[in-house]
Every structure is written in C-alpha cells, then in structure tokens.
Amino acid sequence: MSLVLDNLKKSYREPGGGKIPVLNVARLELQAAEQVALIGTSGGGKTTLLNVIAGITAPDSGRVLIDNTDVTSLNEASRDRFRALKIGFVFQTFNLLPAFTALENVLLGMCFAGKGTDSHRATDLLKRVGLGHRLNHRPPQLSVGEQQRVAVARALANHPSLLLADEPTASVDVANQNTILDLIRDACKENKVSLLLVTHAPDVAARFGRIEKLSDFNRPQ
C-alpha cells in the first residue's frame, strides 16, 4: 500500500480568531504504482491536501501513511528528509529555480535529499523527457512545455514512491497538455511510482482509470 489518508482534518485560522475547515477526509487509499486523478473545484482544498500529504502543512488531526510511515508523526526535519526521498512534486507553475540550468534544477532535488548528486542520472532523466539537448539551458530559455518536463524529471530524481502533481497541465497549451500527461503517467508507470494528480479539468481526469472527486470524500463542514 502506497498512500493512506486516515481521518485527516485541517482548518485555517481566520484573522478574527475563528476557524475555516478545509479538509475532513475520512479515508483515501492509493495502491503502490496506482495512478489516481483527484478532481475538485478551485478553493476546494486540493492544494492543501497535497501539502498535508507531502508534510509541508501539518494537519490538525489524522494520519498520512506513505509506505507505512506516518508522515504526521515525524518531526519537521524528518518530514523534510522523507519528502525529499519519497515524494516527487510537480507544480502547476513548474517552480523551477531560474538561476539554475535544467540539469542543475534536477540535481537540486538530489542535493536536498542528502544522498549526493548524480549527474548521470539527472542527465538520463532529462534525456528521457526529451531534453537531452537542453541540459544547460536555464528556465527562461525553455518553453513552457519544456519547463514542465524539467519539473517532471526533477520530481523523479530521488526515486520517489509517490508523485504528487498539482494541476501540472494548467499552465501549458492544449498541444502540450497531453504530452505532459503522458510523460508523467509513463514515467510513473515505468518507475512504479504511485501518482496522485490533482486537476479541476474533467478532460484531464478522464484519462485516468481511477478518478476521485474531492467533494465525495472531503466534507470539511
């Protein structure tokens, strides 16, 4: 079993002192190497859910089990290390660091995992996403589609067991959407990585065998 969300709750404080409940997930499971599309409306708590799963945001209560490790029980430093080693992240806006080349952006993920950097693997990953000729280009020198491909390569750099993708096609044109989606799905399949892809677009979700509607299992009120 790759991912289990168990009785997960999260709310944000209002300036006036009250609380806004955002997440209330009784249970959600992803099998190892399973690919799931999570569909939800804007402001529905999709990004918060991903942040909680990744250990970026602490839940108010509940558990997040990844490969049988309860992420919520780890201290912050352990969560950071766990995230670096076990979780790949692909963001809507790619979140590449502009000062670093494509290759360096991939190496950066390895650097923070504390295992040392592997230029051969980083190069290989970039070649597999079709950017073998763009290794030393910085993000501003790459097209939007190419930037997202670098982000995919970076997410896979540390052999994660779970890849979280937050609207990865929202910023790319229609022509690139399918390419990016295929790339992410194929890479996860090839590397036996579980994929939880969040989207608000039904056509994107439709490409997945399993589709979960956030509103079906998240009842914050």
Binding site: T47, T48, N51, A54, I56, T57, E76, A77, D80, R81, R83, A84, L85, F89, F91, N95, L96, L97, P98, A99, F100, E104, L107, L108, G109, M110, C111, F112, A113, T117, R154, N158
Partner: protein, 437 residues
C-alpha cells in the same frame, strides 16, 4: 552541487546588486589594506631597532628633527657644527668611532639627498650586524660618490656616471658646477641610504659656497668656545686685497671654516654612550641623542595614533558596506520567498535554507575582501612612486602586513552576522504560503 554552489548561483542571479554590495566591501578593505601597508612601511622605517651607531650629535634643538634630518633625510638640517667639534668628539675617551656628515644638497637629477661623509661611514653597519655591501668601491678621492640602490635604479646611474648637486635642496635652482663621479653602488638596505648619494666630505667642502666665510667661522668658533688663532683674527680684520671669498677657486680650506651637519658616534660601551650623551647635552653647544628614542616617541605619539584613526575610519567603511549587504539581502528576501518555498518543498530543511543565505552573505563579504586586498596592493603600487617622490619613503606594494590575514576571519564573522536576520527570514518561511504566491 552543494550549499556554496547554490549560494553562488543566487549571487549570480542578482549579479548587479551583488557586485555593487561586494564592491562596497572591496573599497573598504582596499582602503584598510592600503593604510596597513603604508603604515607598516612607515613603522618599519621609523622603528629600526638598531643602527650602526648609538648617538647622533647635532645642533641644539629638537632631537626628533635631528634624527629625521641626519638619518632619514626627511627634515631640513639645523645650524651646522664646527668641524673642530667633530675632531674633539673623535678623541673622546668613550668614542670608538665618529663619522661626520654634511647634508643639505640634492642631486640635480631625481633630487636625491646628498650626504657628504668620510670613507669610515661605510664601516658603520647600516643596522646591527648588517654591513654595507657595495658594487665598485667606497669613497677614495674628493670627487668620488657612492650611490644607494634606489638612486642608481631611478636615475639609471652606474659606476662612472657623473652628476651635479643642487644647492640647499630641491626648491633651489642653484646648480653647483662641480661634478661627482660614481665609484660604487650600494646593495639595497631597505633604509634611507638606498635613496641617498654619498659624496666625499672633502669634495663637498671643496664646492664653491660650501665653505664658511671667515668672519662667520670666527664667530661660530667663539660661540663654541674654541680658541681662535691670532692669524685668523688678523685675516678677518684685514682681508688681503684682491682675495674675494665669494668666488670658486680652491681655498685650501682651514679646519676652522669646515662644518658638519651631524656626527654619528659609536661608543665603546653602552654606559659610555649614556655618559657621553649626558656630557654633550649638559653643554649648550650641541645635542646628542640615541635616535631610537625620538623615533619611538614619534611612532607612539603620532604614527600609531594616525594608524588607529585611519583603521577606525576604514573599519567603519567596512561596517557601512556590510550594512549595505544586509539591506540588499534582506530586501531580496521578499522576492526570494517563493524560491525558498520551492527548495523547502524539494526537501531542503530550514537549517539548509538558513545556511544558504548565510553562505551568500559570507561569500559576498569574503569576495569583496579578496577584491579589496588586490585593489589595496594595486593602489599602493600606483601611489608608491608619488609617496616616494613626496616623502622619500619607499613603499613596496607587495609587502604584506600580518593584520591583512585577520581581515578574512573578521569578514567571515561579519558576513555571518549580517546574513543572520535574512537567514532567519528564510528559516521561518511558510512553505505553503510561499508556494501559493
């Protein structure tokens, strides 16, 4: 890839502002290095721990002025002493060696100070245990000259070169007709001797106008309580007709007419030096001083205080530069929140992003320091000929002050201090909020 390379990348990303802030540190360090080098040279020059003699005797007045004029040739000489006084001191029981010098003129080319002296001058070591070494020979005939290494290098002179003297210093336009011929070139000593041209005292006196007019000589001798020969008194009272002392033929100068500017004395013992100095100083005629003491006083009272003031000023410049680095990095933190959020999302710990910011600030300080160090030596290289021509002090741009080494740990600490608050801001970054910006 490591934290330092990540920091360097961040610096490169903001190349203009990073360069300007590092440059401000560099300018501060440049000034400090220049101050340290020049001060070090001045300190070394004026803190010479020993000379080949232990007393300088000159006219009554300031002991510092005597040392500066006789040894360093930086001050104008005072009223000269009668040559007879030198002869008297030479025979003193405490004196091992006495060497007279006459100064005041400069070379026509390069305006290097002239020292008229006797060959025994070169028997006195220029510093303790360091004898003069010469290419060629020391003074033998009246028109011989031995020149310091700097004089030779600057004027392009060697053995056989001839030169004329300007009377009374560089400001004068009276060039003596007599020529001296270089017979020896001294090996470098790192002392004022390097920029001095030594000429035979006999030749110096033989130059037209260097002799004391008889009447003045008599007055001077009386002041010094020397018996004036009757024949001399008669000559002064009734000068021989047709004998004009204003012209330039060889007068066969009388000892009574000869003068020296100062006398270097090596005594037989330290006790003898103290006793002799006391004896001379009790008298109203002359002043004897161990040059180490006035120079030490000069260092303590003036040079060290100037150094302290300049170092304080340059330290403040560096601190102000450091504050500008702080402001630059701190202001950039708002723009970098997302960048830090991304790093944290990729697994970077709080301590890691803190260290990246700290390293960035330390690198800017250290980079500025290295550039400042090079610029400091560079500016000394540019300024050294000007300093030398104005003050006669030789400054080696490559000379290194130990305090320069202290600069780098200080800059590292300073960099860490100014990086602390921006680093703390990075440490406290809310990752989720930063990513959503």
């Amino acid at each position: 890839m490591n934290l330092v390379t990540i920091s360097i990348k961040s610096i490169k990303q903001r190349l203009l502002s990073s360069s300007l802030t590092a440059l401000s540190v560099a300018l501060g360090v440049m000034l400090m290095v220049a101050v340290l080098i020049i001060n070090g040279v001045v300190s070394d020059l004026f803190s010479q721990p020993s000379f080949g003699f232990n007393l300088v005797v000159g006219p009554k007045g300031s002991d510092l002025s005597l040392a500066l004029s006789a040894i360093y040739r930086l001050d104008k000489p005072g009223e000269p002493l009668p040559y007879l006084f030198y002869k008297e001191l030479k025979e003193h029981r405490a004196v091992e060696k006495a060497v007279p010098i006459a100064i005041g003129d400069v070379t026509q080319q390069g305006a290097f100070p002239i020292v008229g002296t006797i060959p025994e001058f070169f028997d006195l070591d220029y510093a303790y245990g360091k004898p003069f070494r010469v290419r060629g020979e020391f003074l033998k005939t009246p028109w011989d000259a031995v020149i310091g290494s700097r004089v030779a290098a600057t004027n392009g002179w060697g053995i056989g070169s001839e030169f004329k003297l300007i009377h009374g210093g560089a400001e004068s336009d009276h060039v003596h007709d007599e020529k001296f011929r270089v017979v020896g070139v001294l090996a470098p000593t790192g002392t004022p001797n390097d920029r001095t041209a030594f000429v035979s005292l006999a030749g110096f006196w033989a130059i037209a106008g260097h002799e004391k007019p008889l009447k003045e000589a008599v007055d001077r001798l009386e002041k010094f309580r020397y018996p004036v020969p009757q024949s001399l008194r008669e000559t002064v009272a009734e000068p021989k007709k047709g004998h004009d002392h204003g012209h330039d033929h060889d007068h066969g100068l009388l000892d009574e007419q000869k003068e020296v500017t100062a006398i270097f004395i090596r005594t037989k013992s330290t006790a003898g030096s103290i006793a002799l100095a006391g004896e001379i100083n009790e008298d109203v005629r002359a002043l004897a001083v161990n040059p180490i003491f006035p120079m030490k006083r000069l260092m303590t009272m003036i040079v060290d205080n100037i150094k302290l003031m300049l170092l304080t000023l340059t330290s403040l410049i560096i601190v102000v530069s450091a504050v500008s680095i702080f402001v630059s990095i701190y202001n950039s933190m708002a723009d970098r929140r997302r960048e830090i959020g991304i790093m944290r999302a990729l697994g970077a710990r709080r301590e890691t992003v803190f260290a990246i910011i700290l390293a960035e600030s330390a690198l800017l300080c250290l980079g500025g320091g290295v550039i400042g160090l090079l610029l400091g030596h560079g500016i000394v290289a540019v300024a050294s000929p000007i300093i030398e021509s104005r003050s006669g002090i030789l400054v080696n741009p490559l000379s290194f002050e130990p305090l320069e080494l202290v600069l780098f740990p200080v800059l590292l600490v300073l960099g860490s201090l100014i990086g602390f608050l921006p680093g703390l801001a990075a440490y406290r970054t809310d990752v989720a909020a930063a990513l959503s910006e």
